[in-house]
Amino acid sequence: MKILIVEDETKISEYLRQGLSEAGFMVDLARNGLDGHHRAMTESYDLVILDVMLPRIDGWKILEAMRDAGNTVPVLFLTARDGVDDRVKGLELGADDYLIKPFAFAELLARVRTLLRRGAAPAIETSLIVADLELDLMRRRVTRAGQRISLTAKEFALLELLIRHQNEVLPRSLIASQVWDMNFDSNTNVIDVAIRRLRAKIDDAFERKLIHTVRGMGYMLESNDGT
């Protein structure tokens, strides 16, 4: 998977490159609008991360040029201003998602993965399986090692989210927004409590733990037997 980052701030762009490379992506970095425009128009990428405040050619122009040329590659734009105009403008110009600086890297990674998945044809799934845990999506049933586990609707949704993003760190804010539609920081440990309760049901009784806490960042469901 090849990603183009167009970002003029040296520190952020370096860390983005490092972080995304370590997450297994091939990353190209353009440090100004002109270079970014050129690369976006001539090379082929799976995703473009675009800062909108750029010298010479701003992010909007690049996005416009790409869409005018019929380039449908997913675009995630970064904006420092928490303004209405930016978001609306970006989405109107055909961007797929946006993040407001400062953002958590885990959040960016989760969004990048979601955008990359969006391109793939959605498989009609009836169940999700991780190790010995199975989610029956049709009947909303969960079994682990053949044992039936009863979950509430929200616990089920939380587990489904974790499994769909397995091996990805999910920040608390993303979990709150995806599972409960709470799009703000609640300043509480609601998510921690919810995860603890979910763990009590699916992990506590078993030797192998699936849900892991990534300190300072969020939670992750690990499918590969790392230990």
Partner: protein, 471 residues
């Protein structure tokens, strides 16, 4: 828009116009009554003569009698200074003509019935007269046609007197109007002196002297209101100013703590070589501080935008019951662990930005859970008042908040106990955000705390979707 006329000019104009109207009316009445007086006087004199002439004419029996008339007419005129008489016979020939103007011209257009016995003005050879013409019919007379006569008195003196009277009166009136205008202007200028005094006082108030107040007792009664409302405005500005500088100090203070933590940790960490685990520990700890700062900046940005009503708004009508259902679902696990129950009664709809209101309600609910003792029940009540307002009340048992803190509870970074700063309490902007969101919806929020129960009440006006989206 054109600048309105100055007050001095307005008042002076008003004075002048009213003086002009009053004096002109006064002058007109005087001139009219003087004129009428003269008219009546002349008329009376003419009627006396005319009655005598008529009586003499009626006494004529034979044509010979006519010859006796001449001395009789002369007699009649005696005592009437300057009066003239002209009498014509039925044949239209002059029977008598006194000295003075030729009155035959007055009679020539044979006066018909309506013109008879009328007093009117008449001019002859630069002189003005008032004349009375009359016809006398004699039943016994065989000859056709009436006798006719005209009496005139000169009125030149009266006319002259009236002309000069009018002139003098006009001059007097114009002079008075000018005087009144001048007086008005002076009065207005004088009246504005206290205003200039206030302006001088206000001019000297600087940003660091907002505690200065105007003294309402030292200004005229009319300006007391102005002084008082200006003082009230100063009060609000002063308060906002202090709040703002407190806010600045608070931001500095709030940022100083995490920055100090970061610096110390990093410095100590770098002071000698450490194991990877130790570095990781420092980075984790730093990240917590960063997250805290990022959240604070995000909250402050949200507040700034919400205060300026710059939030993106998807305004819609929605069920608050559903909102609380979702919020309870979100918080139930945590509430459960805190051994706090959530209870919802009533239903209500409202119109507004659902995401923003959800954030406000979530902040209140999390506060309530945080401050409730174990075993408590948080009661949420929704209802619609008779006036169509939506009331959302969130009440929780818990320590009573001292009354002096209540008004400032919604201030940014305000904490009841300044020394205490719980790590899970956020950055002290939660209630400020709630108030800001409620304000953006033209609503209000009140808080009551007594007998171990704290209750927040949000009142939202009965809006239609168009009311809010047009803002």
């Amino acid at each position: 828009m054109r600048r309105p006329l100055s007050l001095a000019l307005r008042l002076t104009l008003l004075f002048s116009i009213s003086a002009a109207i009053a004096f002109s009316a006064f002058g007109w009445v005087i001139v009219q009554s003087t004129e009428n007086h003269f008219k009546e006087q002349d008329g009376d004199e003419l009627v006396v003569i005319a009655d005598a002439v008529q009586a003499a004419l009626l006494e004529i029996r034979t044509p010979q009698d006519i010859t006796f008339l001449e001395p009789r007419f002369a007699d009649i005129l005696v005592g009437h200074h300057d009066a003239s008489l002209y009498v014509a016979g039925p044949d239209g020939k002059a029977l008598y003509a006194s000295e003075g103007p030729d009155l035959s011209a007055v009679l020539r257009p044979v006066p018909n019935g309506s013109a008879a016995n009328s007093v009117r003005a008449w001019n002859d050879a630069d002189r003005s007269y008032r004349v009375l013409t009359e016809s006398v019919y004699k039943r016994a007379e065989t000859t056709s046609g009436p006798y006719a006569f005209a009496v005139a008195v000169p009125i030149d003196d009266h006319v002259r007197f009236l002309a000069s009277f009018r002139r003098n009166l006009s001059l007097l009136i114009v002079g008075s109007i000018a005087l009144m205008s001048l007086m008005g202007w002076i009065a207005v200028r004088q009246g504005h002196v206290p205003l200039h005094g206030i302006v001088e006082q206000i001019r000297h108030i600087r940003a660091d002297e907002l505690a200065v107040r105007l003294s309402p007792d030292d200004v005229p009664a009319e300006l007391t209101e102005l002084a008082i409302s200006f003082n009230e405005m100063l009060e609000r500005v002063d308060e906002a100013f202090h709040r703002l500088s407190d806010f600045n100090a608070d931001i500095a203070h709030e940022l100083r703590t995490p920055i100090a933590n970061l610096m110390t940790q990093t410095e100590v960490g770098l002071s000698r070589a450490r194991t990877a685990d130790e570095y990781r520990e420092i980075l984790y700890s730093n990240m917590e501080e960063y997250q805290r700062m990022a959240q604070m900046v995000g909250d402050m940005l949200f507040l700034a935008q919400s205060d300026n009503r710059q939030q993106e708004g998807s305004i819609a009508e929605f069920e608050l019951t559903n909102e609380f259902h979702d919020l309870f679902e979100f918080y139930e696990g945590w509430a459960d662990e805190c051994d706090v129950k959530l209870d919802l009664t009533g239903t209500a709809k409202t119109t507004g930005d659902r995401r923003m209101l959800r954030r406000a309600l979530s902040n209140l609910l999390s506060n309530a859970i945080r401050h409730s003792p174990p075993g408590a029940t948080i009661r949420v009540n929704l209802n619609v008042t008779e006036t169509g307002e939506t009331r959302i009340s969130i009440a929780n048992p818990g320590p009573t908040i001292p009354a002096e803190h209540l008004p400032r509870l919604f201030d940014r970074f305000y904490r009841i106990d300044r020394s205490r700063q719980q790590s899970d309490e956020g950055v002290g902007l939660g209630l400020a955000i709630v108030k800001s969101i409620v304000n953006a919806h033209d609503g209000r929020i009140d808080v009551v705390s007594d007998n171990g129960c704290t209750q927040f009440v949000i009142t939202l006006p009965a809006h239609s979707v168009s009311d809010l989206s047009s803002e």
